[in-house]
């Protein structure tokens, strides 16, 4: 299974109602659990990408290249001990979103050679430009309507977004 196929799988699983998916092929093993599996609240589950959880069994047998390639898809570190994980979920319930006001293509930077408008950990206020959404050659700089700290970027650069789709996860206490 190559990186592309894994990406496709993740897309399919995100769209489905599956909570968990496992595949084995020789000594390659992959297990994907969605937020729904973790029993997260509905509003969080809707917007978040699935997490890839490493399987407990022979991780060493997964080719090194795969592990590196998969990193951008699953920027989350390996799951923390159970207790902390629960606290994190509790926190997420209090998180808010920056959403897309239009259908279009999401860009994180003003142009391909420039730095991203915002990154994880940045503080934003209702005047901060957080991204561009382009539609029909109209380029829209999206200002945040909320105050807080960026916890997660929910959409990949240059990918299509729907109306009202969550773009950033924001901690209002941050």
């Amino acid at each position: 299974m190559d990186f592309k196929q894994i990406q496709e799988l993740i897309k399919l699983i995100t769209k489905s109602n599956l909570t968990e998916f496992k595949v084995e092929d020789g000594d390659f093993k992959l297990s994907i659990r969605t937020e729904k599996f973790a029993g997260a609240r509905k509003n969080v589950a809707q917007a978040s990408a699935p997490q890839i959880l490493p399987v407990q069994t022979p991780i060493q047998s997964i080719p090194q290249t795969f592990v590196q390639q998969a990193a951008p898809v699953a920027p989350e570190p390996a799951p923390a001990p159970k207790k902390e994980k629960e606290e994190e979920v509790d926190d997420e319930a209090n998180y808010i979103y920056v959403k897309s006001p239009i259908v279009g293509t999401f860009y994180r930077s003003p142009s391909p050679d420039k730095d991203a408008f915002v990154k994880v950990g940045d503080s934003i206020t209702p005047k901060t430009v957080v991204c561009i959404v382009e539609a029909m050659k109209l380029f829209n700089e999206i200002e945040s309507e909320v105050t807080g700290k960026i916890v997660k970027v929910l959409v990949d650069d240059a990918s299509p977004v729907e109306y009202d789709q969550a773009l950033f996860l924001v901690d209002p206490k941050g």
């Binding site: 006001p101 539609a135 029909m136 050659k137 380029f139 700089e141």
Partner: protein, 253 residues
């Protein structure tokens, strides 16, 4: 300053050399409160903007390269294609005034074509907060006196190439501003539907069978019949109407 308009061009920045007139306009908005209709024109644009990162190269002093600051807060963010349509019609009106005997069309979504060749382009940069359009910077580039173009850009023309007349750029600016203002006031008023219809009627190769390159699929053919209000191109294909987004489709001229 322009005298024949209500607000477009009343405040006028005529700059010798800028990275891009749009960027200058965006900086003005960020730092001050420029009045609606403020126009920025540059003799030379060092890094003119096309579609996301694509450059629009114009020889210094040969062409109209300007940006207009507007506040179309009467439009919802999802209605923004109407602004693009109005500006494209405004630029078309202007071209028709100067070159009344030529066939001037809008290539979807907003390039200007004269006799089947590209003469100008539009780049709009909106500032959105929630569903409201706070500001719009409308950048327009029109080839006027440029005679030579890089061979990498085929199918391009200029006013002078068509008419063999050399134009004084400053003399063209008032009628350009007026043409844009008239169309803008139409979408601000009650003529929104007319703008949509006029735009559709002005579409390059409308009602013709046209070849397109469809992303991930390959070559397709379809008859251009119009656009959705949000801008998607409507093609008659396989005995039904199909809609396409800009990212999906590339017209083969």
């Amino acid at each position: 300053m322009v005298n024949n308009t209500l607000f477009v061009g009343k405040v006028f920045f005529s700059e010798k050399s800028l990275d891009s007139t749009n960027q200058f306009a965006l900086n003005l908005i960020a730092k001050s409160n420029p009045s609606e209709g403020t126009v920025i024109s540059a003799y030379e644009q060092r890094a003119g903007k096309g579609q996301y990162g694509r450059e629009w190269n114009a020889q210094a002093g040969k062409n109209l390269t300007l940006s207009i600051i507007l506040y179309p807060n009467f439009l919802q963010a999802k209605q923004q294609f109407l602004l693009s349509q109005a500006i494209a019609l405004g630029v078309k009106d202007f071209c028709e005034q100067i070159l009344p005997n030529e066939v001037i069309k809008i290539k979807w979504p907003n390039d200007l074509f004269i006799n089947g060749k590209k003469v100008g382009g539009i780049l709009i940069q909106n500032g959105l907060r929630g569903a409201t359009i706070k500001s719009a910077v409308v950048g327009v580039g029109i080839n006027i006196n440029q005679m030579d173009f890089p061979s990498s850009i085929p199918n391009v023309t200029s006013f002078q190439k068509i008419s063999t007349i050399e134009y004084n750029l400053a003399d063209l600016i008032p009628s350009f501003c007026k043409a844009i203002e008239i169309r803008y006031l139409q979408i601000k008023g009650k003529n929104k539907r007319n703008i949509h219809n006029e735009y559709e009627n002005a579409l390059f190769r409308k009602e013709e069978n046209v070849s397109f390159e469809l992303k991930d699929i390959g070559m397709i053919e379809g008859v251009i019949i119009g656009v959705e209000e949000t801008g998607e191109l409507k093609l008659w294909r396989n005995n039904k109407i199909e809609q396409f987004n800009l990212g999906q489709l590339k017209m083969k001229i």
